[in-house]
Amino acid sequence: MELDLTVPLRSFALELSLETGAETLALVGPSGAGKTTLLRTIAGLVRPSRGRIAAGGDTWFDSGAGIDLPPEERSVGLVFQDYALFPHLTVEENVRFGARGAVDDALERLGIDALAGTRPGELSGGERQRVALARALGREPKVLLLDEPLAALDAPMRTGVRSYLRGLLGELGLPTLLVTHDYADAVALAGRVGVLVGGRLVQLGTPTELLTAPATPFVADLVGGNLLVGRAERREDGLTQIELEDGTRVLSTDEASGEVALLVYPWEITLARAAGDDSSRNHVRGTVEELVPLGNRVRVRVGPLTAEVTAASAERLGLRIGEPVVASFKATGARVLGAR
């Protein structure tokens, strides 16, 4: 999907240029940053003042060429924040409304075949979301757009739905653009994350890139800490062991199990040449992969972690890219998101 557009909003203009492939891209930003407007513009519900929108080889909008396809002619699956299910139709009728292929398959894929005859009013938030996804996917769209996919869910449900959605998006392999105000959701669901502030894309990159080299203080604040995804398991000593995607094992004092997101702040990670005799339970050995100075501080990437140390410490340790280093943090500094 190729986007290059300007949409005038009330107090500023949404100006964005973006290219995505068959990946999940998340745009994060505060409310009022133009996130929903962007999705509506791609879907053809809002008309940009200039620009070009193309997807899957078709041009949907081109101000230069005078092309502006109506929403029904754009092959797009838009999942609304509140799902916008038709309240007077059953789950099956909702999915059938825009379906091209077999409705049964669409219901089955999302595990809602048992709800076929139910009306949306009787469904839980998570079920509604699945119906909205089934309905959008039933159209066999070339592009999937998700507006705050987890915002309408209760906190206890979010963790489960998040990992379910992550699996589903991976399976689909569709160009997917999702917008959210929650950075944790963005990292959990998307490979690349863009930060949208005041209608402009401030930075676009992998979560690691954003953490290691935030383009602005806002991005640094937004990204906050290392968000690590892994599988949690209780240990007999009462701690939780999380095996990260790259095989690294870390300990947390939070109780959790299953797929979780783990938060470690860069300033809670200490760096040393060799593991010392300290109270930290987590020691990640690796090499310095990136060094980014931020004023009197330096952000240092070691394996899956980004640490923040003072420039003086980095100097004293003689940190250089490619040199071995140990990153340590306490089990109490590894917080499981959504843990109770």
């Binding site: 053809g44 109506p70 029904e72 754009r74 007077h88 825009g98 009013g121 509604r128």
Partner: protein, 265 residues
């Protein structure tokens, strides 16, 4: 105590005249009077003109209300305000206004007669008078019924491949249906009782423009019992329509969703 007395007085004042219609003449006379030719003619004229006017109100009013509710354009507020005008206009003014527009010496009179068309004092005039006074009842209700449909649902339908007409038919219309039915009933009741504008613009020609309300007036000094019988009949129709309006939302399977669009938060 005082409240109870005041309430009883008010209720009695409202109900006594209606009851009197049924008590003034014996029920057997009421029924036989309804079979008289004057009443039969008026009933046919009323049903015909009401049906045609109502079909027109629904057929034109529904899409107009949908557009007013969903589109934003200059002059929209003015147009919505104008819909209410016939509601507050005295019926006699409506009648003289229609004459001034469509009468033989009216604004369009010469043009119409050039095409051999006469409207005033024909059944077409009855239909026009009914449309003029009754359509605002439907339009107002229909605009607010369509406005209460969550715009995201219409947007969702479009992104699911539905063209504007299918979006209207499959989403907007069923969700607005209970409100439309209420408006339709009110407009029908108002149209059926239309008197002032009709008598000025269409006259009271038996078998042609004399509707039931006009027949009451005509029979007043000819056959008082017949006038009473027509009155009783119209009361029954009014009660039936009122009951339908009150009960309709709870009967309809759609209505529970009318005020609860998909907002789940």
């Amino acid at each position: 105590m005082l409240l109870a007395v005041a309430g009883a007085l008010a209720l009695g004042f409202l109900l006594l005249p209606l009851l009197a219609l049924f008590l003034r003449v014996p029920p057997a006379t009421l029924v036989s009077e309804l079979g008289s030719s004057v009443v039969r003619d008026a009933l046919i004229v009323s049903l015909e003109t009401s049906a045609i006017a109502h079909a027109f109100i629904l057929g034109v009013g529904t899409p107009v209300a949908y557009l007013l509710a969903t589109q934003r354009f200059r002059g929209r507020a003015l147009l919505i305000g104008a819909i209410d005008l016939p509601l507050v206009l005295p019926p006699a003014v409506a009648g003289i206004a229609l004459l001034a527009a469509f009468g033989s010496r009216g604004l369009l009179g010469a043009t119409l007669s050039a095409f051999g068309v006469t409207i005033a004092f024909t059944q077409a005039a009855v239909v026009l008078a009914v449309i003029f006074v009754a359509s605002p009842f439907y339009l107002r209700q229909a605009v607010s019924a369509f406005e209460s449909v969550d715009p995201d649902l219409l947007a969702a339908a479009r992104t699911l491949g539905a063209r504007p007409f299918r979006t209207f038919r499959r989403v907007a219309l069923p969700l607005a249906a209970p409100g439309l039915a209420v408006g339709s009933s009110l407009a029908f009741a108002r149209g059926l009782g239309e008197f002032g504008a009709t008598i000025m613009f269409a006259g009271s020609l038996r078998g042609s423009t004399q509707t039931l309300p006009l027949a009451i007036y005509a029979e007043l000094d000819q056959d008082f019992d017949a006038a009473i019988a027509i009155g009783a009949l119209l009361v029954l129709v009014s009660v039936a329509i009122l009951a339908a309006v009150k009960l309709l939302p709870s009967w309809s399977s759609i209505s529970p969703f009318r005020f609860a669009p998909s907002r789940s938060s």
